[in-house]
């Protein structure tokens, strides 16, 4: 189980795209592939994260995202005042 405000918000956003995901089954090392998130889902997760946190994630950062932890770290890097 992952704790913290940003973590929880990220998990909720992932669930808003992939509704059959159980939050309590997620860890930082859970991959998008583990969750059955395909490329269109991944794009929707990216959009949801950007809109929710008011950030823009470069394609270079997006390209490196493979796990839930990667998403959380990306958001934390771009909204440092909330960490």
């Amino acid at each position: 189980m992952i704790s913290g405000d940003i973590e929880q918000e990220v998990l909720c956003l992932v669930r808003s795209v992939k509704k059959d995901v159980r939050v309590d089954s997620l860890t930082r090392t859970t991959t998008f592939a583990d969750l059955g998130i395909d490329s269109l889902d991944a794009l929707n997760v990216l959009f949801a994260i950007e809109e929710h946190f008011g950030i823009v994630i470069s394609d270079e950062r997006a390209r490196a995202i493979r796990t839930v932890g990667d998403v959380i770290e990306t958001v934390m890097a771009l909204v440092p005042e909330r960490t």
């Binding site: 998008f32 395909d38 269109l40 270079e60 997006a62 890097a77």
Partner: protein, 171 residues
């Protein structure tokens, strides 16, 4: 060099265009324009690093359809970046020509990488069973289509999201 590696890599285009063979650079270069109406290199933003190739092919202006195909470098697959390029390609095609619908042909393995769009973005129009031999067994090929009406309904919100980098500072 980027296009040659992309089109011959087993993880990217090699199995699609050349069936696992190793064509000469000349053959790859000449095949780049086979039946092509328009094509674009998919680049990262803001790096402009090439990530893939998108092609609008085999247009039939009498009956109002064409095809879209895309290849992506392995480490960009599954990230949504190639999907974003493909969606922009659909927008370009529907905005530029009066196509009724645009098809994509996909093997069953590649289909899994965007199947979540079924019913929302595209419909399945055909399935060629045991159609191609790849990686040790016969595999199905699917033909899916995006209709203009569907795209027209989805495009405003989708293209607005794609503009997220315009005028923004990315990190």
């Amino acid at each position: 060099m980027f296009l040659y590696e992309l089109m011959t890599s087993p993880e990217a285009g090699g199995r699609v265009r050349f069936g696992g063979g190793t064509p000469s650079p000349e053959k790859v270069a000449s095949s780049l324009w086979d039946s092509v109406l328009a094509q674009f290199v998919i680049e990262g933003v803001p790096s402009e690093e090439p990530l893939g190739l998108l092609a609008i092919t085999s247009p039939n202006f009498r009956d109002g359809f064409a095809y879209i195909s895309a290849l992506g470098v392995p480490d960009a697959q599954g990230t949504g970046l190639i999907a974003e390029g493909v969606l922009i390609g659909f927008h370009y095609a529907f905005s530029t020509w009066p196509f009724r619908k645009i098809y994509m042909e996909t093997g069953e393995d590649s289909y899994d990488s965007f199947r979540s769009g079924l019913g929302q973005f595209f419909v399945e129009e055909g399935r060629l069973r045991q159609h191609v031999f790849w990686n040790g067994r016969w595999r199905d090929v699917f033909i899916v289509a995006v209709y203009r009406e569907t795209w027209t309904a989805l495009a405003p919100a989708m293209m607005g999201r794609f503009d997220r980098h315009a005028g923004a500072t990315t990190a």
